[in-house]
C-alpha cells in the first residue's frame, strides 16, 4: 500500500481534527493579515454613504439562523454606518426566522449608539407572501406590513413610519439574503426595476457568483459577499468585528483545502502511473 492509498483510507476523523486545529489556532492567536477591499463592497459602502442625511433605508432580512455567521456582521456594520450618518432603517423579513435572528443584534447596536427604537429604526417582523408582498409594499406599505411591528405596536404609534407609505419613499432598498430562490432577484423583479428604486444586497459567499450578473449590470448598486465581504465592510467603516477577526482562520482553512486537493491529485496520478503497466480492468480507483 502506497502512502497515498494509506492517506486515502485513513479514518475521516483524522481530517476533521486537523481542520478544527487549523481553524482554531488563528482564532486563538490571529496573524493580522491585511485585507484588501473589493469593488463590490466598496460600492455597497458608497451607496449607503450617498443616502442623504436623515434619509431612510428599507432593509429586508431574508436569512435564517443557518447563515448568521456570514450575514449578521453585515447587518450590524450596516446599522453602524447608517446610524453614524443619522439614517433611519425600516426592516422586516420575508423569511420566517429573519426577524428573530436580527432583533437582538440590531437592538444592541441601536442602544450602544444611543438611538431610539421606533424613531431611528424599526423591526416590523415577518411578513409572509414572498414576491407578492414585495409588490404590496410598493402599492401600500402599511397594508403589506400588516399595520404592526414585530412586537405588535401599531405603525401609527411609531414616529419613523409617519409619511412612509410606500417602498418608493425609501432612499435605498437593501436585501440581506441567503435563501433560494433568491429574494433579491424577486425584489429586483417586483420593486426595483418596475419602480426604479435603487437597491443593494448582502449575501453569502455561496450565492455571490449567481448574483454577480445583476451587480455587473448596475442593478445592484453594491454587494457584500460572505464573511469576506463583511470583513471588508467592517474594515471600511472602521468597526472591526467577528468577520475581520475570522479572516486569518478562513485563510488557514483555504490553504488546508488546497493542499489536500493537490495531494489527492498527486496521489491519484502516482497510482495511475504505477498501474499503467498492469493489465486493464478490475482495478478500483
Amino acid at each position: 500500500m502506497s502512502i497515498w492509498e494509506k492517506l486515502s483510507s485513513l479514518d475521516r476523523r483524522y481530517y476533521y481534527v486537523v481542520l478544527i486545529l487549523v481553524v482554531a489556532l488563528p482564532i486563538i492567536k490571529p496573524w493580522g493579515l491585511p485585507i484588501r477591499v473589493g469593488s463590490t463592497t466598496e460600492d455597497f459602502w458608497k451607496t449607503v454613504e450617498a443616502v442623504p442625511e436623515g434619509g431612510t433605508i428599507a432593509l429586508a432580512i431574508d436569512y435564517r439562523s443557518d447563515c448568521i455567521v456570514e450575514l449578521n456582521p453585515q447587518v450590524v456594520t450596516l446599522f453602524r454606518q447608517a446610524f453614524a450618518r443619522n439614517l433611519k432603517i425600516i426592516m422586516w423579513s420575508n423569511v420566517d426566522e429573519g426577524a428573530n435572528v436580527t432583533e437582538p443584534i440590531t437592538r444592541a447596536v441601536g442602544n450602544e449608539m444611543g438611538k431610539t427604537y421606533g424613531v431611528d429604526w424599526v423591526n416590523l417582523g415577518y411578513k409572509p407572501g414572498g414576491e407578492v408582498t414585495m409588490k404590496k409594499m410598493v402599492d401600500n406599505f402599511w397594508e403589506g406590513a400588516a399595520y404592526v411591528d414585530m412586537q405588535g405596536t401599531p405603525l401609527q404609534d411609531l414616529p419613523i413610519m409617519q409619511g412612509f407609505s410606500s417602498l418608493r419613499d425609501a432612499d435605498l432598498l437593501i436585501d440581506m439574503m441567503a435563501v433560494v430562490p433568491s429574494p433579491a432577484q424577486n425584489y429586483l423583479k417586483m420593486v426595483s426595476i418596475p419602480y426604479g428604486i435603487p437597491m443593494a444586497i448582502g449575501t453569502t459567499a455561496i450565492q455571490a457568483p449567481t448574483e454577480m450578473p445583476f451587480y455587473s449590470s448596475g442593478q445592484y448598486k453594491g454587494m457584500l459577499a460572505g464573511l469576506r465581504g463583511a470583513a471588508e465592510y467592517e474594515f471600511l467603516t472602521r468597526n472591526p468585528g467577528s468577520a475581520m477577526m475570522g479572516m486569518d482562520a478562513q485563510s488557514a482553512a483555504h490553504i488546508l483545502v488546497i493542499v489536500l486537493i493537490a495531494l489527492g491529485n498527486i496521489g491519484h496520478m502516482m497510482d495511475k502511473k504505477k498501474r499503467a503497466g498492469a493489465p486493464v480492468g478490475g482495478g478500483s480507483k
Binding site: 476533521y16 482554531a24 482564532i27 455567521v69 456570514e70 423583479k189 449590470s217 467577528s242 478562513q250
Partner: protein, 202 residues
C-alpha cells in the same frame, strides 16, 4: 445568570451536532435535531400569526369591516382538507389560485429582468475583457441549444468554449461554497473559544 445559561446551552447544542461527524450518528445528535425542528416549526406559526394574520384580521376585518377578506382565509383553510383522504382534492382549489398568481407574475414581471440582462450585455468590442465577456455569454447560450446538432466546426467550437466558461464559473461557485461552509465552522469555533471557553482574545 440567564446569559451564562444561554452560552452553556448553545455550547451543548453546538457540540451535540458535531458528535455526528466526530463520533457517529447518535441519540444526542438526533435530540439536538429534534429541538431544532420543534422550535422552528412553532416559531414559523408564531411569527406568521402575530406579525401578519392577527393584525390583518384586527384592522381589515374587525376595524374596517372588509368582510370580503374572510374569503381568502377560507380559501387558505381548504388546504387542510389534504389530511382527509376523501376530500383531499379540495386542496387543489387554493393551489390552483396560487399557481395562477405565481404564473401571472412570472409572465408580467420576469421579462423586465430578462430584457435588462440582455441590454446589459451590449458591450462595445473595444476592450479585450468586453470581447471575452460577450463571447462567454453567447457561447454558453449556444452550449444550451439542444435542437442544433454539434456537427459543424463553428458549433463544436462554440459549445467547447461555452463549456469552458461554465467550468471556470463553476470553479468560482465551488470555491465560494467551500468558503461559506468554512465560515460557518469558523463562526461556531469563535463562539466556543471566545464566548464559551474564553481562551481567545475578543
Amino acid at each position: 445568570m440567564s446569559a451564562t445559561l444561554q452560552i452553556w446551552l448553545s455550547a451543548f447544542f453546538t457540540i451535540a451536532i458535531y458528535t455526528l461527524v466526530l463520533y457517529k450518528d447518535n441519540k444526542v445528535f438526533r435530540f439536538a435535531e429534534t429541538v431544532m425542528i420543534g422550535i422552528t416549526a412553532a416559531n414559523g406559526i408564531v411569527v406568521t400569526y402575530h406579525n401578519y394574520i392577527r393584525p390583518v384580521v384586527a384592522v381589515d376585518i374587525v376595524q374596517q369591516g372588509k368582510y370580503l377578506q374572510l374569503i381568502p382565509i377560507l380559501i387558505g383553510l381548504l388546504m387542510y382538507t389534504r389530511f382527509v383522504r376523501s376530500i383531499a382534492w379540495v386542496s387543489r382549489i387554493p393551489m390552483g389560485f396560487w399557481v395562477g398568481v405565481g404564473a401571472a407574475y412570472i409572465l408580467t414581471r420576469n421579462p423586465g429582468v430578462f430584457i435588462s440582462q440582455i441590454t446589459a450585455s451590449f458591450l462595445a468590442l473595444n476592450k479585450l475583457n468586453n470581447v471575452v465577456f460577450v463571447v462567454g455569454v453567447i457561447s454558453v447560450v449556444v452550449y444550451f441549444y439542444f435542437t442544433v446538432p454539434i456537427r459543424s466546426a463553428p458549433m463544436k467550437g462554440m459549445t467547447t468554449l461555452g463549456k469552458a466558461f461554465l467550468l471556470v464559473s463553476f470553479g468560482a461557485t465551488f470555491a465560494s461554497t467551500v468558503m461559506s461552509r468554512i465560515s460557518l465552522l469558523l463562526g461556531r469555533l469563535q463562539f466556543l473559544l471566545q464566548d464559551w471557553l474564553r481562551i481567545a482574545g475578543v
